[in-house]
Point group: D2
Chain length 376, copies 4
């Protein structure tokens, strides 16, 4: 199977997530990065491109030029990764889809509901595929958890506790010019969601991914603790999921001492699961009236074959990059086979995330009323 | 300082919390149990009394007889512990207070708001003192956390995450006649609160104890997952605390795999604290831009003298019973000195707990509206 | 069953372990402390006795007077606890045994092999019983581990890893007059063992208690890192146990950051066990090709009835004092019933501990030769 | 800086460590794999080469042919990775060094002392460089630990506790034809060391890497628990390090329930460090009379710049592959710059490992005598 050709929009010098996408694409050797519109100007893009060893003729001044040129080449890119800030997702997504080039987009989908609608229309109109890198779905034990629940391993789901706690915005570092903090606290670039968009959407996505159920309504209390902030930096949300299950999401960027504390706990009629992203190679699984079990990545007792979605034996920790890489690996498989039977998030999950941000913001604005889900 | 004389109402054969109170009262050798009305009939009471080595003439047929007789004795009890089910708290509390005997009552205060009012009036009318055994306030690191926050160690409190997760009611064991499950799921005996009354009140009490702030409003979503249950066995609650702080409480008795998962996390402008009851001898303390510290019971770095509220050196774990014993120790001090400058919960905390149960129930009945606190 | 009457030798003001014995004796309400020779002079003894609420006529000037007087009383003590420094164990043990009074002695047995011989002879000559408080054998999960291994739950034992790490002697605090440090680093008071006697004997005892096997030979490397110390403050020891099993012991009092790090790991042909004293309410149990299980005190999956040796439900942590109390509870049972079928350590375990100290010291003096066990 | 060209000897279908080297070489995009002699026959090598997307003209029938051809090409490989079983290390190492091609060799160096001598001579005679992938030295917190100790952060080192516990050989799976188990338990392929060679050398290497001190003598007790095994599957080793420090190594492949339990604890006069490979993103650091600190990869409080040797922010776990990749990254730097001032293990560390295996085997054969180090 040939390596696929990858392009990238965004991800030039000083960016964070672009570098992650590049490493992820390399780990399993299924992709070659061959083209890019990496920065906001042709000059800066070229500088980044040369640094990455790209052919300078495939460093483009902007994404429109890139889509056009690459679509015209016999050896043009198979897919493009969009790793710009949220408010700059919609335009390149649409342009590449129209050019027939598959799109891999960082989450969240975009920054406004109207952009989400346009993207959805473009996806439906295009033969090219759309993938959204909710990377935490690539963690092997998250997929094992999903399989275990689908097999009835914990019975009917009752309670979901999800949290995503960070502390890096406890101080107003955006005022000191910290680049990541600046755009993430700026509604013009991030959209209506601060913490709920940046990290809350991951927690929300994981809940729906792992349980296989949709959130049907939520009520939210959002806070902007940082002085001068208009977007939320902490969120308390209660969830309804179908007729039975209920849940909570806590998302925070002001929880001093927390680094990247994404944690998921799910309890059903027959059992429970607990997983934390910071030590992702183990998961607690308990059945009623039995001792807790520690399931390890690749170890004994997993519901699905233990060699799935993992590269090295148990006890040799894989982490964030490997989970991300599994998405790129899957996307290569999907593109290669054309199958629609896969678990990589796409436009539907993107829209769900946009609903979550919008619903949480609306609920909070109305003092915590329940906001129901159109999609559910 | 002489040992104080203790009486007990409830706590006969088959009971749980009565035995805990007795052990707690013995650990520091400040109390002698000398009288009781331990069960529902004189015969059963006597049987329990003999088993405990009480003088049979001080085993009473009921609590009224006991209060009268003990008040009349020159060597009558100094205090009585009330360890009956919730709906049987009010009457003995009032009778003993009226008899001028100090009362130590297990939480929650009682089962109905009207009982709470009567108890409050009795406390105000009596010279005897009233203590409520919110035992988790006796854990040394909880008191260290309280001192640390009072000293400004984490700055202004922003976010409180409290949870109390158990799994023992995941199945409907009350239908199998399990005694503890039966009265705790019965509104006639427990009052309006299931999980929120039994364990949620502990979480609520800890929040107010440790932060020194009051919850001013809450909105709640309560569930009764167990078939046939009318009281909640799972609760999702969002909190407002004054002008700044916000919080969440998750209380559950259906979280399979959880034993007694009381956990408290508090984040302020300058730092954060994390503590879990199941391993109560350590607490995480983090300051902005500094590594996490693990504070241990009696170890270095504590805000208050490391020999407070603890008996043995760090590394030699103390647990639930020792924390409970510290309350009995404090109560002996308070009775001995007559001071009101102490941190043992009393009528005010009892009323706060009753408000919490009532407010959560009312909020949930009205689909999660915010219910404000009269007391706050 | 009547409460037993307890006396105490040592344990006056400023002592540590005497207070622990007193709390342990009270927790389950099986003992009354009624007599003592608590300090080195009659005056100081009386002061301590009054503080503890003893009848002053039963505060004795020395242990010989006490043994004689108590043996003569119709309500004399049933047993005496010896909680003096190691070099002052032998004399009172022998005197009380000769007086027909049961003896409960803190570990290690004594400070010299010749004292050990004399004690052994006295035990054999007396109808009174002798108990040695290797208190860590009272932890419920340690007893569960012992039962599990006896039942073949991990197959034939292969590897034992025991460690007992403390850091409190990293600095030479004995030079600053710290009382506990002073006698424990003084060969005249502690005998030939520093860390190996004070804590190593606990690790050694646990190994033999839990596996049911004896150590047959050891080779040791002992260090005295603290300036001016003659006794070991760190020990590295390799063990042979019968034909198959092998092990290691690391005991240290200079491991900065360690508080009371007693930890035991045992691996057999079919499974493995891991337990650590600082969080004693859980134990890891693994079987070949199966996930790790977390067994909790009182929780599901235990080899022996989950209500043994524990007072309160799982999730409500018991600790060091409760484990110690279980020994006092057992001793009361043993004295009451006269049975010899019990698991409380006694003279045999005391001698084993003395062999361990002596063998380790001799091995280390000869550059780590193997020293075999006479007793094994 | 151009990407370097990499060749590989071994690592064909069914191999484990070859795949790890390939991923490691890709993560930071400094290497292109362009040539190989991947298997034992030209046909199998070609099959593997095609699978990996290599130019078939650069898939060689054996390593000698490969060294000759690649040395002759203007675009020949810069370095070759040797990932064959231990007994097949020496020949290709020597051949490539003689051809002037840098060598990256998996550990341990080789299988016999005489091979080690030949390799050493070849390294000294060649201008090409030699690197040994003791990959655990690439973990960021291991390098931080090394820096911290070098800066005096824990004072003078006293005690080193290293362990490497696995359980995968608890059963004799080599008898069932498991490929990894077969060669690792075969002295003809592994040399004199079983567990001590396969994993003990890693622990030994880490000790010397992190402390900056050499082990000067050891005494060892080796066991072959598995039926029919001639090589050790469990090892208990005591260490002397210079005039002061002492240590222990436990290496096991029969510790049921352990996956890849490499753990290092080091205590000095002023502080202590604890690190475990299975959760490599945090390290405990304690100073005398201060609380434990949890240092995280990339987090606050690290002795060296927090952006060293790591790709993504704290809380986003990196693991085994990233640590391995850091070695490939460093090697690219070293080759590019020609510097000798780096911390990648090389021939010296390879010889130290061979000494460790030989000394442990000799000590064990003579019932645990101390064996001193020639090199130290």
């Amino acid at each position: 199977m040939r390596r696929l050709r990858l392009g990238m929009v965004g991800g030039g010098q000083g960016a964070f997530i672009g570098g992650v996408h590049r490493i992820a694409s390399r780990i399993d050797d299924r992709w070659d990065l061959v083209a890019g519109a990496l920065s906001s100007t042709p000059e800066k893009s070229l500088e980044s491109a040369l640094e990455l060893g790209l052919d300078p003729t495939r460093s483009y001044g902007d994404f429109r030029e890139m889509a056009k040129a690459e679509a015209a080449r016999p050896d043009g890119i198979d897919a493009v990764s969009i790793v710009t800030p949220n408010h700059m997702h919609a335009d390149p997504i649409i342009v590449f889809l129209e050019a027939g080039i598959h799109v891999i987009c960082d989450k969240p989908l975009c920054s406004t509901p109207s952009d989400a609608e346009k993207i959805k229309a473009a996806v439906e109109a295009s033969d090219a595929m759309f993938f959204l890198t909710h990377n935490y779905t690539g963690y092997p034990l998250i997929r094992q958890a999903r399989a275990l629940i689908a097999q009835g391993g914990i019975g009917e789901v009752r309670v979901v506790q999800a949290e995503y706690a960070q502390g890096w915005l406890a101080k107003e570092i955006e005022a000191e010019g910290q680049k990541q903090a600046s755009w993430r606290t700026d509604p013009a670039k991030s959209g209506a969601g601060g913490a709920i968009g940046d990290i809350g959407t991951h927690a929300f996505n994981l809940i729906e991914f792992v349980t296989g159920q949709q959130v049907t309504a939520l009520c939210a209390d959002l806070q902007s603790f940082g002085s001068g902030r208009t977007l939320d930096d902490n969120a308390h949300i209660i969830l309804k999921m179908g007729d039975v299950a209920r849940g909570m999401i806590w998302a925070s960027q002001v929880a001093v001492g927390c680094e990247n504390g994404l944690r998921l706990r799910i309890y059903g009629t027959k059992g429970g699961l607990e997983w934390a992203q910071e030590n992702p190679n183990e998961m607690v699984f308990t059945q009623v009236d039995a001792p807790k079990q520690i399931l390890t990545r690749g170890g004994p007792g997993l519901p699905v074959g233990s060699d799935n979605w993992t590269r090295i034996p148990p006890g040799h920790p894989e982490g964030y990059l490997e989970g991300f890489a599994t998405l790129y690996d899957d996307i290569a498989d999907v593109i290669g086979s054309g199958t629609t039977d896969h678990c990589v998030p796409g436009i539907k999950e993107g829209q769900r995330g946009m609903w979550f941000i919008d619903a949480a913001a609306r609920s909070a604005q109305q003092d915590g009323i329940w906001v129901g889900s159109r999609n559910a």
